[in-house]
Symmetry: C2
Subunit: 517 residues, 2 copies
């Protein structure tokens, strides 16, 4: 493909994309192909000689598009959103054209420096405490990772390393033989436990699996709004200690996947500061062996661009914690991937993840003049991901981002209000919170068993999804099957929420009518 062919193909692609977004609402949200559909259409080997763009482009529309589920469809209410916006696409396009591996500063100074700067911009916009800024007092800072899963894994590796370094030094015996020290470390490693809650995202458990360390999920309760509380954490810590375990890591969540609950930051902080008799005598914050607290705000962290959300969540309290992560690619108009991960002290990452190799040596790095982000992450190479963040933050401005977040939160409230008006049909189980509402079929007369009600709610869920107009996901809360409806997609407007309510109402009426017959 030469320049001329590329110009034509690219301009046509741009037109395709614009047309796609303009008519997105006319498509089915979820693909309806059968498993294995594509293998029937494609040859089993790559062609020997090159094909024309016209041929490839035809197959893009004819073979690929039917197999796409449209995450930016106005009726996409499943999971959390996966963002896109025009300025973000331009950033991705430039980034792909400049394609480099950017593992250290000299590999493109602009890539490293823009990342540091826009993550400081973002930290300020989210109201994060100064300690998470690269220009802050604690040598903290942010780094863009591919996903919240990578961020929590990176945090857990750094936490394990810090815990071992600190506690092995404290417990060291003068003149100790090497084998004795090794035995001590082995025993400690086998007793270390990462904590989360039963509503923490599965990435916490996966990170513990990867590290090969123990994992405990602290139960959270409906009456606490599904949040981790001071008492819950104190009990869990005491229980760990009673079982001979050493807690070194806690995943706290701002906006759980199931219900968007927010763990009680003040309570967590108090539990860690608690009188040692109560919480098992774990080291207090700041002491060697303190519990590393990571805040997973993958989705809802975006809403912190609004001051009212900063106040409501008391975001200033996260300065007592160690790391914080949010995905701009979920709810902040930057396309996948842009997981923005902040630490209070970047040396924790560098100490855990730094591995030298002669071929990467260079004057700027060796002189310690610059940041080499390869030491802040699991992979070596990395893309120029800050460019799309820069474009989006400048193109929308803080006020534009706030307006978008507020609009989508309001849509969630509209939806919940509409459901509440039909309490004969629906019961809201959680929310509306951060543009998420969780609900199930109503049982106003209290005459339906849990199993039956779950089955009816599932029927509502399956049939609503089968319309092809909307896509919802479900969850299980204390044995109750419930439906999640998220209203944070950029293309979703009031009219789409009204249509969703109408669809759900009609389906619910049908399900209940059949049940009564």
């Amino acid at each position: 493909m030469d320049s001329k062919e590329f110009r034509e193909a690219a301009n046509a692609t741009i037109d395709d994309i614009i047309t796609y977004f303009e008519n997105l609402g006319d498509r089915n949200v979820v693909s309806t192909v059968e498993p294995g559909y594509l293998r029937k259409l494609l040859p089993s080997e790559a062609p020997q000689t090159g094909e024309t763009w016209a041929t490839i482009h035809r197959d893009m529309e004819g073979q690929i598009m039917p197999g796409i589920t449209h995450w930016n469809h106005p009726g996409f209410h499943a999971f959390f959103p996966c963002a896109t916006s025009y300025p973000s696409l331009l950033g991705e396009l430039y980034s792909a054209a400049l394609s480099g591996a950017y593992f250290n500063w000299i590999c493109s100074p602009a890539v490293t420096e823009l990342e540091t700067i826009v993550l400081d911009w973002l930290a300020r916009a989210l109201g994060l405490p100064q300690c998470f800024l690269a220009t802050g007092p604690t040598r903290g800072g942010g780094v863009i990772q591919g996903s919240a899963s990578e961020a929590i894994l990176t945090a857990m590796v750094a936490a394990r390393d810090k815990y071992l370094r600190e506690t092995l030094a404290v417990e060291a015996v003068a003149g100790e033989a090497e084998e004795v020290k090794e035995e001590r470390e082995m025993r400690k490693r086998s007793k270390m436990v990462a904590l989360a809650t039963t509503l923490t995202h599965s990435s916490a458990k996966k990170a513990a699996l990867i590290l090969g360390c123990r994992f405990r999920a602290i139960p959270v309760r409906a009456e606490d709004g599904y949040a981790l509380t001071r008492e819950g954490l104190v009990d869990a810590l005491a229980k760990c200690k009673a079982d001979g375990l050493e807690p070194f890591f806690l995943a706290a969540t701002l906006g759980t996947t199931d219900v968007c609950s927010v763990d009680d930051f003040a309570g967590i902080s108090a539990a860690l500061e608690e009188d040692g008799d109560k919480n098992g005598g774990i080291p207090r914050p700041g002491e060697p062996g303190e519990v590393w607290v990571h805040v997973d705000a993958a989705y809802a962290g975006a809403a912190l661009v609004c001051e009212e959300v900063q106040r409501a969540t008391r975001i200033e309290l996260v300065e007592r914690f160690h790391s914080f992560d949010m995905n701009m690619h979920k709810w902040l108009l930057v396309n996948f991937d842009a997981s923005c991960f902040f630490v209070r002290d970047r040396s924790w990452l560098v100490q855990a993840l730094s591995v030298n190799q002669a071929v990467y040596g260079n004057t700027a790095s060796d002189g310690g003049l610059v940041t080499d982000y390869r030491e802040w992450q699991i992979p070596l190479g990395r893309r120029f991901r800050s460019l799309k963040i820069w474009f989006v933050m400048r193109s929308y401005g803080i006020q534009g981002l706030q307006a978008y977040i507020r609009r989508t939160i309001a849509l969630g409230e509209d939806f919940a209000t509409a459901l509440a008006k039909r309490s004969d049909l629906f019961e809201i189980v959680a929310g509306p919170k951060f543009a998420l509402t969780v609900f199930r079929l109503a049982d106003p007369k209290g005459e339906t068993s849990l199993e039956e009600r779950n089955a009816l709610t599932r029927a509502l869920y399956d049939r609503a999804n089968a319309t092809g107009k909307i896509w919802l996901t479900s969850t299980q809360l204390d044995g109750r099957f419930a439906i999640r409806l998220m209203t944070a997609v950029r293309t979703t407007e009031k009219e789409h929420i009204e249509a969703a309510v109408q669809t759900l109402t009609e389906v619910a009426e049908g399900v209940l009518k059949e049940a009564r017959n």
Copy 2:
């Protein structure tokens, strides 16, 4: 930014990109900005109100481009390449527009299915044994990861899991108490060791750091072409066993970063099959507790599209190993990121990495009908990366890819031939191999000490890089400072190699003249 503004901005961006590639050779390869240059130019906070594209675009050229090091510049001879091509850009563009998280099949069936299909295409094109195909006999298959570092980490996690599962079961004692079993597992974990060589990429050591397991690098020697040999591995295995360690993982390399050496696959295989008295009695391939062999072909794996490279490397032997990884984003015209990771049995990944969460449940996944790639990788979410691979393989065809690889390998040979003609100035230390030549300043009369020769070669290196016309990287081989020159960038042509030779010749003459005075 509305559709109209986007169309204009995007079409202008396409023009920018075309102009960029057409005039790339006129720029300095490496950015010459000073550390901290960008912070002086940018505000410390994001703007409150949105800015126009014209403003942002102006700053892209004025503020960002001076800080870019051009990885696709014809004079970029550093590290390994980071690919780009026009069809790949189109794939990235569509992928960004369709932005989704794609962690399971229903999230877009086309994303999962195209990935399975194009990785089978690629496996066939590379001559990989049938066991690495999704349609092969062993339930193997490929998955696209972000980088070779992620791939080797994923392999190592799966290997650890498999090793523990197999050996703990074999060694289990009937009626064993839970504490005894735990103690056994703890001791085993503390004795497990991952093996690599002194020229294996640093990502192997980093993966071991992340897992918290031991790591040993087996020395490789110049006289063996810097390859791991049968004897080297047998000795290392025996030494591990003598030290009470349990080897569970070996990273073998096809194309090391320093010199592009290829570990001896037949020798590795023979060492693992060796009489137990010699190699410490490790379990043989196929037995419980066998050593997992991962082949890191991140860069040079691309050359396997040529049959002559398949024959020369005896690629069919990798069927005895467990996993294989190569980055299309290095030398196969797909822009970063596209690390193609193949396993012989996908259940090894799923068993190690599967974590369920109610919200991700769906009929297709729960029924086991489909592949959910989230269970084959560390992150949950993932981009639509197979699209750019599909576009590139179709647009170039296998013959187009072969022609590109052969052309760039030939450029490396041209370069080495030119250096060899000036044996008064240059000594080739390794290569030309896979478009990489490693050399240092000559010492034809044998009158220079190692230190002095290293200093002179470093002077050659620094001054050649200071011209701004080419960018080279260096390495250390047995204490010898050496320069690497890689000729695999798409834009590099014969004339650029001739120019590089001329630059190096002039600089080397100057350095030697000064040294003699």
